[in-house]
């Protein structure tokens, strides 16, 4: 094929493939059906873009998310009309909540049949309007290439997010002129990157005088790109301020760094939450004061000035009033702040900072994540710790499902670099991890990709084992099997009088046989003494593995800020849980 086809007549289906290539896409996750057959026909006739046939469209979207989060590029999924599109809704919502740039292309019934309740017709743009950053129904082939390029532009600009382009079948067949990305003028949509210099100066002045500062960072740092993480590290090292992060932001600052407090929030560390509560300067870098983070709003970080750096104006002052709001891209703002702070003499309130650091040290000394592995049953914390110890020096990517195991992975694994940690934060989507890990492995074929899973979440998209076997994706499914919907069980213990309504995982499959049925390898481990060897066996296997790690069934995840409580009201290990949440807290999730 010639490189530049500007001005050439292409069918709509050819345009889709051409536009994807021109946008640098090398992998698409999808599932065919009547309304996308012309596009599949074009995919068949080329080799540059690899197509991965998933087993369910939800998985295609999560795989695209995993691809996007681990590369920073736009992930792409392709689905048919009707049920194909509706199956994509959970993935779109997940990507919207976590600001992940993905493009879903859906087929639609031909334009002349829209509105007639045709076979496999659904109002896809109507259904996905609230769960996309933007979406388009393209009724004219001449507009298609422009819309596709614009879709990439919108997905990755500003606060990233999912977009959807719905293409009726007749539009895929008809021909028109194809415009390459360089010939398409993208819309007025250009979010502001540079922060207001006056606000940045206020931030720097606050940094110079702060007695008890803390950085509170989030997914915005990751989304801003590797440069943002580099600048953040520079700023933290230069100022010596302690730093914590949300679940979404892990890896932006290395877990091995000595300023690192660990994750904050509902299951965050004692030192991170106490520092948030006690600080006098809170610098929010690309986080959004989510309710998992703030706990009780009126008791949240009561004595601090709050600086909020965010590219999305609607995040600022939504939940917590910012004293210094800085609208802009994290990397741009950090660069300016660091330069100004240095130009003004790199000053900090050194004496008071020393006292603050001592205070932080005392909180660290509580060692809130300590646990004892005793007896014959594997503690889930132990399993994750051993997985961490045996993999931390490798070129490694970690995904999770949703539940206790997810929190344990966040607590006991250390992330040294951005884009290495993929978890469903905002939506909390069980079934996310397995397909996401598939997408990560596609993007990084030589790397070690592990999905730390709960048995219940894992079953939600278990069909994807077939995809992994088909494409020889050697992802390791590390299942912490407590035979419980563990997080649900923990909450029932906490606030529903230990009435464990429907939180058992009954009639579980034999995961080893299941692996074998799919043509993968299965490993079961239930003795702490065997754990290391079993993990090594998993790592050594060149192919997908299901690792069934039988763990303590009634372990609870601590520390925990119960709903409706403040950061300094954490429940710690061994705490009696019953009655910890009162009636007001009980209505919260």
């Amino acid at each position: 094929m010639t490189k530049n086809m500007g001005g050439r007549q292409l069918t709509g289906a050819q345009m889709v493939v051409k536009a994807l290539k021109d946008q640098g896409v090398d992998a698409v996750f999808g599932y065919p059906g009547g309304a996308v057959l012309p596009i599949y026909d074009e995919i068949f006739q080329q080799n540059e873009i690899r197509h991965f046939l998933v087993r369910h469209e939800q998985a295609a979207v999560h795989a695209a998310e995993g691809y996007a989060r681990s590369t920073g590029k736009v992930g792409v999924a392709l689905v048919t009309s009707g049920p194909g599109a509706t199956n994509a809704v959970t993935g779109l919502t997940d990507a919207l909540m976590d600001s992940i740039p993905i493009l879903v292309i859906s087929g639609q019934v031909p334009t002349f049949m829209i509105g007639s309740d045709a076979f496999q017709e659904a109002d896809t743009v109507g259904i996905t309007r609230p769960c996309t950053k933007h979406n388009w129904l393209v009724k004219d082939t001449a507009a298609l290439s422009g819309v596709l390029h614009e879709a990439f532009h919108v997905a990755r600009s500003g606060r990233p997010g999912p977009v959807l382009v719905d293409i009726p079948k007749d539009v895929q067949f008809a021909s028109a002129e194809y415009l390459p990305p360089t010939k398409v003028s993208t819309s007025h949509y250009r979010p502001k990157l540079q922060g207001d210099p006056a606000e940045i100066e206020r931030l720097v002045a606050l940094m110079e005088g702060a007695e008890r500062p803390v950085f509170y960072t989030g997914g915005g740092v990751i989304n801003s790109g590797p440069e943002a993480s580099r600048l953040l590290r520079g700023l933290v090292e230069a100022t010596g301020f302690p730093i914590t992060s949300t679940l979404m932001g892990l890896g932006a600052y290395p877990a091995s760094g000595d300023k690192w407090l660990g994750m904050l929030g509902m299951h965050g560390t004692y030192e991170a939450n106490m520092a948030m509560h006690g600080c006098d300067l809170l610098i929010n870098v690309g986080a959004r004061f989510d309710d998992r983070i703030t706990g009780r709003i009126d008791a949240f970080s009561p004595n601090s000035r709050k600086v909020h750096i965010d590219i999305d104006a609607s995040s600022i002052n939504k939940v917590i009033k910012a004293d210094v709001p800085i609208l802009g891209d994290v990397a741009h703002v950090l660069e300016d702040a660091l330069a100004l702070w240095k130009a003004r003499g790199s000053r900090t309130n050194a004496g008071k900072l020393g006292t603050w650091r001592k205070r932080v040290q005392e909180w660290r000394a509580v060692r809130c994540l300590d646990f004892k592995q005793e007896g014959a049953v594997i503690k889930p914390q132990y399993a994750v710790s051993r997985l961490e110890a045996l993999t931390k020096d490798r070129d490694r990517y970690i995904c999770t499902e949703v539940g206790q195991h997810q929190m344990w992975a966040a607590q006991y694994m250390g992330f040294e670099a951005p884009n290495r940690w993929m978890t469903s934060g905002g939506l909390g989507t069980m079934g996310y991890g397995q397909p996401a890990s598939m997408g990560v492995q596609v993007a990084h074929p030589e790397s070690l990709v592990i999905n730390v899973a709960g048995e219940a979440s894992w079953l939600m998209n278990m069909q994807e084992m077939g995809t992994m076997v088909q494409y020889r994706l050697p992802v390791k499914q590390f299942i912490l099997n407590n035979e419980r919907l563990g997080m649900v069980r923990q909450w029932q213990e906490l606030l529903h009088g230990e009435r464990y309504s429907q939180s058992w995982s009954e009639a579980l499959p034999d995961f080893v046989k299941l692996a074998e049925a799919f043509g993968a390898k299965g490993i079961r481990c239930q003795d702490p003494a065997d754990l290391d060897d079993a993990i090594v066996e998993m790592l050594d296997h060149d192919g997908p593995v299901i690792f069934d790690c039988l763990v303590e069934k009634h372990e609870n995840c601590f520390p925990m800020i119960p709903s409706g409580k403040a950061h300094n009201e954490m429940l710690m290990t061994n705490a009696r849980m019953q009655g910890a949440i009162n009636a007001t807290g009980a209505v919260l999730v």
């Binding site: 309710d291 706990g295 709003i297 600022i316 009033k321 710690m572 009162n582 007001t584």
Partner: protein, 188 residues
């Protein structure tokens, strides 16, 4: 490690009681939203209000630039100052939205609404309706032997007042356009 002591009964607010530090005064604002006139753009704006629980008191929309295909949506909404700010920021996030103007804070504003009133009655009632219409500068746009249709423009208060007067006389039906608004002065 010993468990932390929890303060009893300290939860007077839920975690979703989001704005204790914000004012709870309700304000009424008129917003002008300039959008690309593309399919579904109104649904996006309305979906934002319903999805996030904001109020719409009135909403009007029409294309104002036929060449540039841009429409002007005028929304009258109420909320606390913080909610109004959120509404503006959320509107600004919608991709086909070019600009959001809060006419209420940007200076003085001219607001007009058009309404049609059908009033039924004979004899004295009919005369009284005509007399009031004259005071309010309402025009008669349809008439039968026992009914009128009046057309009236003005701010929302004037139209409400006219409705209150017509109701005892024999108001049968009313149609209102919602508010169109511009800032006073030379600047856009």
């Amino acid at each position: 490690m010993p468990p932390l002591k929890l303060k009893k009964g300290s939860t007077s607010h839920s975690a979703y009681n989001l704005r204790p530090t914000f004012s709870d005064v309700q304000e009424r604002h008129t917003l002008a939203v300039l959008v690309d006139n593309e399919v579904g753009v109104l649904a996006r704006v309305i979906g934002l209000f319903s999805g996030r629980g904001y109020n719409i008191e009135s909403l009007t929309v029409a294309e104002v630039d036929h060449e540039g295909h841009t429409s002007r949506i005028t929304v009258v909404t109420t909320g606390t100052p913080q909610v109004i700010e959120q509404i503006k920021a959320q509107l600004g996030r919608i991709v086909p939205v070019h600009d959001v103007h809060d006419l209420t804070v940007e200076g003085q504003v001219v607001e007009r609404e058009l309404a049609l009133f059908k009033v039924q009655g004979t004899g004295d009632k009919r005369i009284e309706a005509l007399r009031l219409a004259e005071i309010f500068r309402a025009n008669v746009v349809d008439s039968t032997l026992d009914s009128f249709v009046f057309e009236i423009t003005g701010d929302v208060g004037k139209i409400d007042a006219f409705a209150d007067l017509m109701r005892p006389i024999g108001l049968v039906e009313m149609g209102r356009t919602g508010v169109a608004a511009l800032s006073r002065g030379a600047r856009a």
